[in-house]
């Protein structure tokens, strides 16, 4: 074996190079008549390897660069992007944005973030941990991962494979208020999906680990074994008869419930009156024990950011406290539309976390006593305007505080307003693999539709 390919053999451009480029874009915007402008230049590269049934299936080398620019002609704005960063392309991209802005209606709320809100200092959030992952090493880890899954049980008869990926990127954002900020970050992951099969049919499930630092990943064998466990436990799934029942969302999918909250309190949903939580600031939206807060400065976390997509400083805050909605998720534009101030959420929330309760998953199953444990949700049946919720589900039927049998081909439905108010408990089995961190969530009652 002679391969020595490394993820960053060629290296990314330096922070200084991208800073110079982004400043050139802002200067060009000025030359083309913009009264203000903001731009992001990003570069990233990575390696992704998939192994299936012990053999390499794909090796993908990724290498991307991009420019995104928004120009303002007074209160008119236009945006453009390009994957070509050569000088002529930068000029053309700015020109495309300026051309669009000329046809856009003037909007009092348009513009850069208030200079007073821009991040003054940029704390080091420890997001950059490059991994000198060779192709051979990547293949070997993925093989170990998948093999561990296939060794768990003879009913693991097929596989979609194990994939390992490592990326690093550098983004520089700048605006004509003089703000310039760089984010250098890495992201490494390992996932495995295998198929269990018996007389009842086939079931697939998966597991993954993701981290800023490769040293924080679960070991390959652990990921493989967990994917096998999850596939096998689904074999023999039954349908249930239609009923009303408590529902426990397992931590890996529970974050989706909080993502619906974010959709409903996002500025664009509010000023468009497209939310079931209009004018709910200061009102009870969750059960009184619930606290949901943002932690943008957590070291090494996947959702950490020192400033948002407009350069606004991020800060820890409560979104929900004692069940009461404390604020919204706003960027500068939406904030102005609503007569409020930005919450530093241009681009989204940062490590939104629901305060864990006393129980782990097993404890919550005992607490629920009888009901549905949901481990998979499919479909998009969530209406942010009305709060109506109806999704396909698979999981386990619980009786006497213990798992009885797997269930599938059912739906669960309710209204998010009620689901939030009747959130009985959040588990301490917090899944930290995403931008929203949640333990398992127990909802007092929903409608289960089945046979």
């Amino acid at each position: 074996m002679s391969s020595k390919t490394e993820t960053n053999a060629a290296g990314l451009a330096s922070r200084q190079e991208l800073t110079t480029l982004v400043q050139e874009v802002l200067a060009e915007a000025g030359r083309q008549g913009a009264s203000a402008a903001e731009a992001t230049i990003g570069m990233s590269q990575g390696l992704a390897v998939t192994v299936r049934l012990g053999e390499v299936e794909t090796v993908e080398h990724t290498r991307d660069k991009s420019l995104g620019v928004t120009v303002y002609l007074g209160q008119r704005s236009g945006s453009a992007s390009s994957s070509d960063l050569r000088p002529a392309a930068l000029r053309d991209t700015v020109r495309a944005a300026v051309t669009i802005a000329k046809y856009i209606a003037a909007d009092d709320c348009a513009g850069l973030a208030d200079p007073g809100r821009l991040a003054k200092t940029v704390p080091d959030l420890d997001l950059y941990h490059p991994w000198r992952l060779t192709l051979d090493d990547a293949i070997e880890r993925a093989q170990r991962c998948e093999q561990a899954a296939r060794d768990v049980d003879s009913r693991i008869r097929n596989s979609e494979g194990a994939s390992i990926a490592s990326y690093e990127g550098l983004d520089v954002y700048a605006n004509t208020h003089g703000f310039i900020g760089a984010t250098r970050a890495t992201r490494h992951s390992l996932s495995c999906a295998v198929i269990g099969q018996d007389d009842s049919g086939m079931q697939r499930d998966y597991w993954y680990t993701v981290a800023r630092n490769a040293g924080d990943l679960e070991v390959p064998e652990q990921v493989g074994r967990e994917s096998a466990r999850r596939s096998l436990r689904r074999l023999g799934g039954r349908k249930l008869a239609t009923r009303r029942t408590p529902v426990l969302f397992e931590a890996p999918i529970a974050s989706s419930i909080l993502s619906h909250l974010v959709s409903a309190v996002r500025g664009s949903s509010l000023y468009r009156q497209a939310s079931f939580l209009l004018d709910h600031k200061g009102r009870r939206v969750f059960a009184p024990h619930v606290r949901i807060h943002e932690q943008p400065h957590l070291q090494k976390a996947l959702g950490s950011a020192a400033f948002d997509n407009e350069g606004v400083a991020t800060a820890p805050r409560d979104l929900v406290k004692d069940g009461i909605l404390q604020g919204y998720v706003l960027d500068s534009y939406a904030a102005r539309k609503l007569g409020l101030t930005t919450t530093g959420n241009a681009g989204g929330v940062h490590n939104l976390t629901i305060e864990p309760g006393r129980h782990d998953l097993a404890g919550l199953i005992t607490t629920m006593h009888t009901g549905l444990l949901v481990t998979e949700l499919i479909g998009f049946g969530v209406n942010t305007v009305t709060g109506d919720y109806s999704r396909g589900a698979a999981g386990f039927w619980i009786e006497n505080g213990a798992i009885q049998y797997p269930v599938e081909e059912i739906t669960i439905a309710g209204n998010l307003k009620d689901m939030f108010l009747h959130l009985a408990e959040a588990g301490n089995d917090v899944d930290v693999r995403g931008n929203i961190r949640s333990g398992s969530l127990l909802i007092e009652e929903m409608t289960l539709a089945g046979s």
């Binding site: 499919i378 305007v385 009305t386």
Partner: protein, 484 residues
Amino acid sequence: MSDTLDQAKHSLLAPAGIEPDALQRLLGNMLSAQVDYADLYFQYARYESWSLEEGQVKSGSHSIEQGVGVRAVSGEKTGFAYSDDILLPALQDAASAARAIARHGGAARAPVALRTGPALQLYGPLDPLASLADDAKVRILESIETEARRLDARVKQVMASLAGVHEIILVVRSDGLLAADIRPLARLSVTVIVEQDGRREQGTAGGGGRYNYQYFLESDRALSFAREAVRQALVNLDSVDAPAGSMPVVLGPGWPGILLHEAIGHGLEGDFNRKGTSAFAGRVGQAVASSYCTVVDDGTLPNRRGSLNIDDEGTPTQNTVLIENGILKGYMQDTLNARLMGVAPTGNGRRESYAHLPMPRMTNTYMLAGPHAPEEIIRSVPKGLYAVNFGGGQVDITSGKFVFTASEAYLIENGRVTRPVRGATLIGNGPDVLTRVTMVGTDLQLDDGIGTCGKDGQSVPVGVGQPTLLIDGLTVGGTQGSAE
């Protein structure tokens, strides 16, 4: 066709001074004892979108994406790299990276002479972005706003967007094929929010295809989308809780064909079947639907959103019969999976962009018309659901379980359509849901051109269609407990 190829060479290769001969040599160098296939995919795409809310077009964006993807295939192994610089040295770097899939180097093979292949002419080499002046694009959106508000005072918000793509692709394969396509794509979307007595509901409509923007001005199309969105939103103001449980479901014609896309379409993609991970694997020749059901994937419909003159591997698209009178006939294939399964490619090799690997994907998937009058189908149902509009859907191809979510549906009581119900997800099992299709209408319709399909993180435009049909028992995920 040669015009298209010349234009693609001019746009993609000429700026960097790349000669096709150099690409031929590059591919020859990639082939070895172990690399049995290689290809290059050049792409230049311009996108734009204009958005209206609160009565004004307040945002617009433009983007350019260009690059080249390089793939080397060795048996079941694929090496892939890409570059967003279309320059010969960058291409050579990408080729070396992709070729590393074969661990032992071999002697380069003599390059195969380049040749062109057949291609369809389903749409012209249009550039929607240039087809209309920017102020006219803005006026289309403003006319939608005016129309929606004119229709009903309960309309509180109108959001509309106009988007266009002009894309030029060039494929060069190690077997010598040199193929190009110029692909226009236009789409208009409208969402309205209505309010009455403190209750808010929304309606959405839209459409498009491989057209210039003039398409939206013909036959009052833009305004008809506004009317449709308002109609749907007002219907939903009167909706009651949806029923929960298993019941007969009548699906309306057109867009409800996402049933087919989710329930059987994905499960019939070649990659899942080669690997044996689909619930349909190994079932060719078996009955998977009632005899009323004939389902095709047809990339050859003129101007449709899911149509392609050639797929992203240079293969012309075709009309592939998936299910004929209930019997499973075959799968959708790209070149890799076709070769490994020993069958012919079906023109279904698609990729989101040069930065993604191709895989088997659907084009326009629909069910042919059947013998029943639509009214007769509804009349036959004593108690059930009539669903005519849908949001998205999803499928677990291994277990076969699929969902799709109704956004406009009604109760059927004693053979008559009665009250509208709230949106609800419908769930079923792909391999047997079509066996319960007991009536199929005469009214085949294709959707208006709004579909986007996601698979492995890659999005591609697709179409669906079907006649009115009755499924005699499907689980409806409402909140209103049904009598057992």
